[in-house]
C-alpha cells in the first residue's frame, strides 16, 4: 500500500513511472534504547522511507520497524546493522520485483503473463510494449490485416545491424485452438530479450541472425476461441455460397494444394480454401516470406498437440532432397528437448509420421527454398490435448526452447 502511495506521488511529481530495482525493505526489531537511537540516527543521515511506523519519531522499542532503503544506501545500512546487535531481516529483496509481482497474482485480470493463456487483447498490448522495450534488439512490423481487420504484427529480434542478416521465421497459432503455441512464441521473445548478453548461444544467434516471430497467426480464430468456441481451428473468413466459416490455414498454402489430406468441403475442419492463399492471413505471411526470401534460412511453425517434430514433405510420401540432414537435425533437437524433463518427441517427415496433408506452410517454405523447415506439435499426446493446463506452459516452453535453439544454432553454422 505504502509503495503504491509513494510511487503514485513520485509519478505525479516526475510525470514518470518510478522503478525500484535493487532496493530493499528491512524489518528491524529494536529491543533496547540504543537500537531506537540507531534507527533515528540512520533516518537523519540517509533517505529512509518508513513503511512502519510512519516516521522516525514514532519508533520505540518492542515494535517492528519496516524501512525501505534506496539502492545506494544499502551497503551502509548493511554495515550498520551488522555492527549493531539489533535483530533484523530482509523483508523484500528486490522491491521492483515485488511490485511487478503484484500485477500477476491478485485480482487484476488485465495483466499479461508468460505462464497463462493470454487473450488477444493482452497479446496485442504485450506486442506493443515489448517491441519498444529494447530498440537495439527488437522492433515490430505490421504485415497486413486478418479477415476481420486485426493487425498481423511480426516482431523482429536481433542486434540491430546496418546490413541485412540471415534470418529465421517462426509463427505460432496457425490453428486457433492450439493455445500452447502462441504461449510459446511469447515465451521465446521473453527469453531472447532477457538472456541476450548472458546466454552465449542466444547472444551469438541474435548477433549474427534475426528472428522474425509472428506470435499469433490466426488472430480472428484465436479471439473466437476465447469468446465463443474453444475448439475452433480455422480462420473466420466468410464466403457467399456457404454458411460455413473459415478455411484451414495449414491446408491453404500452395504446396500440392488440396490434393490429399485436405477437404474441399467448406464445412470441414481441414477445408483447403477456395484457392491457394485464399485466406488473407496466409497471403500476408507468404508475401512477407517471399519478400524476404533471400535472407530467410529457416522456417519454424508451432502447433499442438502430439509431441512431434516434423519436416517436409506432408503433401507426398516422397522424401525431400534434404531428408537425411533434416532428420538428423530434428533428432538432435528432439534429444535436446527430451534432456530437460524426459518428454518424448518423434521426428520425421510429415506424411509418414502423422498423416499425409497437402497445403502446409512448412512444405511451401521448403519448396520456396527455405531448407530448414520444421513443424512442431507440442504437448501433450491426448490426455489434455488442446486444453493443456496452464501449469504446463512453463515446462513445455522451457523444453521447446532447447529444441528451437538447437535448430537455430545448427542453421547459424550451416548458412547457405
Amino acid at each position: 500500500m505504502k509503495v503504491l502511495l509513494l510511487f503514485g506521488f513520485v509519478a505525479v511529481a516526475l510525470g514518470d513511472v518510478t522503478r525500484f530495482e535493487g532496493e530493499q525493505v528491512f524489518r528491524l526489531k529494536p529491543v533496547l534504547d540504543e537500537h531506537v537511537t540507531l534507527i533515528k540516527d540512520l533516518a537523519q543521515s540517509i533517505e529512509v522511507d518508513f513503511w512502519k511506523p510512519d516516521s522516525a519519531e514514532l519508533v520505540t522499542i518492542d515494535i517492528d520497524v519496516d524501512i525501505h532503503v534506496p539502492a545506494m544506501y544499502l551497503d551502509m545500512v548493511y554495515t550498520t546493522l551488522q555492527q549493531s546487535d539489533m535483530e533484523h531481516e530482509v523483508l523484500i529483496e528486490d522491491l521492483q520485483k515485488a511490485v511487478d509481482g503484484q500485477s500477476d497474482s491478485g485480482p487484476s485480470p488485465r495483466a499479461h503473463s508468460y505462464t497463462k493463456y493470454n487473450s488477444w487483447d493482452k497479446v496485442q498490448a504485450w506486442i506493443n510494449s515489448i517491441s519498444s522495450s529494447n530498440p537495439s534488439l527488437i522492433s515490430k512490423q505490421v504485415i497486413g490485416s486478418t479477415y476481420e481487420g486485426r493487425p498481423m504484427t511480426v516482431l523482429k529480434l536481433g542486434k540491430k545491424s546496418s546490413s541485412a542478416k540471415p534470418a529465421i521465421f517462426m509463427d505460432c497459432g496457425i490453428h486457433a485452438r492450439e493455445w500452447i503455441s502462441p504461449a510459446f512464441c511469447q515465451w521465446f521473445v521473453k527469453e531472447a530479450l532477457s538472456t541476450y548478453g548472458s546466454d552465449s548461444q542466444m547472444t551469438s544467434l541474435l548477433n549474427q541472425m534475426d528472428v522474425f516471430v509472428l506470435p499469433v497467426f490466426n488472430i480472428d480464430g484465436y479471439d473466437y476461441t476465447h469468446k465463443s468456441n474453444r475448439m475452433w481451428r480455422k480462420t473466420r473468413s466468410r464466403r457467399s455460397g456457404s454458411s460455413c466459416i473459415g478455411a484451414d490455414p495449414n491446408r491453404n498454402w500452395n504446396a500440392g494444394w488440396c490434393t490429399l489430406g485436405a477437404s474441399s468441403n467448406p464445412c470441414s475442419d481441414t477445408f483447403c480454401g477456395y484457392s491457394p492463399e485464399s485466406e488473407i492471413e496466409v497471403k500476408n505471411v507468404a508475401d512477407f516470406i517471399r519478400r524476404n526470401k533471400s535472407i530467410i534460412k529457416a522456417y519454424i511453425t508451432v502447433h499442438s498437440y502430439s509431441q512431434l517434430l516434423l519436416f517436409p514433405y506432408s503433401y507426398t510420401f516422397e522424401l525431400a532432397a534434404d531428408h537425411s540432414e533434416l532428420l538428423k537435425v530434428a533428432e538432435g533437437a528432439s534429444a535436446a528437448l527430451r534432456s530437460l524433463y524426459g518428454t518424448k518427441y518423434t521426428s520425421g517427415p510429415g506424411a509418414a509420421t502423422i498423416y499425409p496433408a497437402a497445403g502446409g506452410s512448412d512444405d511451401w517454405a521448403y519448396d520456396l527454398g527455405v531448407k530448414y523447415s520444421y513443424t512442431f506439435e507440442l504437448r501433450d499426446t491426448g490426455r489434455y490435448g488442446f486444453l493443456l493446463p496452464e501449469s504446463q506452459i512453463k515446462p513445455t516452453c522451457e523444453e521447446t526452447m532447447l529444441a528451437v535453439k538447437y535448430i537455430a544454432a545448427y542453421v547459424q553454422k550451416n548458412l547457405y
Partner: protein, 228 residues
C-alpha cells in the same frame, strides 16, 4: 499375405495402438484408472484375406493417474468394409494397479449424497479441473473409450477432448448412473465430434455405456461453453 514390419513411431502403428488403449479402458477403466498410450516398441501389419488388416503390436501403456506403466502385446484387426475393430491384448501385471479403496470410497460418496452431481467443461478453457471433479473427468474418458473403440479405423486417431457436461442420474440396481456429453477429437480429420452417453459404474461391474448417440455436427456453435 505378406507381413510388413512397421516403424513403431509412425502413424499406422500408432493408430492401431491407440485402439488398444481404448480397449483397455473399456475393460479395466474406472474413475481412478485411465490408460494412455506411452510407446510402441514394434509393429507388424498383415492383410488377411476375407478378414481385414491385422496389426501385431508390442507396446507400453501408462495408467495416467499413478503413472504406472504396463507392457502389452496386442493384435488389432480392422475388419474390411466396416468401421470396427477387434482387439486381443495381453498385458503383464495389469492387476498390479490396485484402485479398490478409492473406487469404493467414491462409489459410496456418490451413492449417498442428496444432490446429484453435475459439472461442465472438464477441463475448462485453461486446462483446469477442480480436484473433486477429476473422477468425473476420468469416468468420462473411460466411457468415451467405448465410442472411440467402436468408431476407430486405420484412418482415425481418437482422444477425448473434453467433457462438455455430466449429470448424475438416479442410482439403479446399485449402479451409479450418469448422463455425459463428451467431445471427441479425431486427429486425422481434425473434427470435434459430439456424443451423448448414458453411463453406469460400480466397482464390481466397472464402467458400462447403456446408450450412445452421436450429435449432429454443429458448424457455427456459439455458446460460450460449447465447442464446435
Amino acid at each position: 499375405m505378406a507381413t510388413e514390419e512397421l516403424n513403431p513411431n509412425h502413424y499406422p502403428a500408432q493408430r492401431a495402438a491407440k485402439v488398444v488403449q481404448h480397449y483397455l479402458n473399456t475393460r479395466y477403466g474406472s474413475p481412478y484408472k485411465v490408460f494412455g498410450l506411452k510407446k510402441v516398441y514394434s509393429g507388424k501389419v498383415e492383410d488377411v484375406t476375407d478378414i481385414g488388416v491385422k496389426y501385431k503390436l508390442d507396446l507400453l501403456v501408462q495408467e495416467m493417474i499413478e503413472n504406472t506403466t504396463v507392457r502389452c502385446s496386442a493384435e488389432v484387426v480392422f475388419a474390411r468394409g466396416e468401421n470396427s475393430s477387434q482387439v486381443q491384448v495381453s498385458c503383464e501385471e495389469l492387476l498390479k494397479i490396485n484402485t479398490t479403496a478409492q473406487e469404493e470410497a467414491l462409489y459410496q460418496q456418490y451413492k449417498i449424497q442428496r444432490n446429484f452431481l453435475s459439472a461442465e467443461n472438464l477441463p475448462d478453457n485453461y486446462g483446469h479441473i477442480e480436484p473433486d471433479m477429476k473422477p468425473l473427468w476420468h469416468l468420462g474418458a473411460v466411457a468415451s473409450s467405448f465410442v472411440m473403440l467402436n468408431e476407430s479405423t486405420e484412418n482415425t486417431l481418437y482422444n477425448m477432448a473434453r467433457v462438455a457436461n455430466v449429470t448424475q442420474l438416479a442410482t439403479e440396481n446399485e449402479q451409479l448412473k450418469f448422463d455425459y456429453h463428451v467431445l471427441l477429437h479425431d486427429m486425422v480429420s481434425q473434427e470435434i465430434i459430439h456424443w451423448k452417453l448414458l453411463v453406469t459404474w460400480s466397482p464390481p461391474e466397472g464402467v458400462k455405456v447403456l446408450e450412445m448417440k452421436k450429435l449432429p455436427h454443429c458448424h457455427n456453435c456459439e455458446t460460450l461453453s460449447d465447442a464446435s
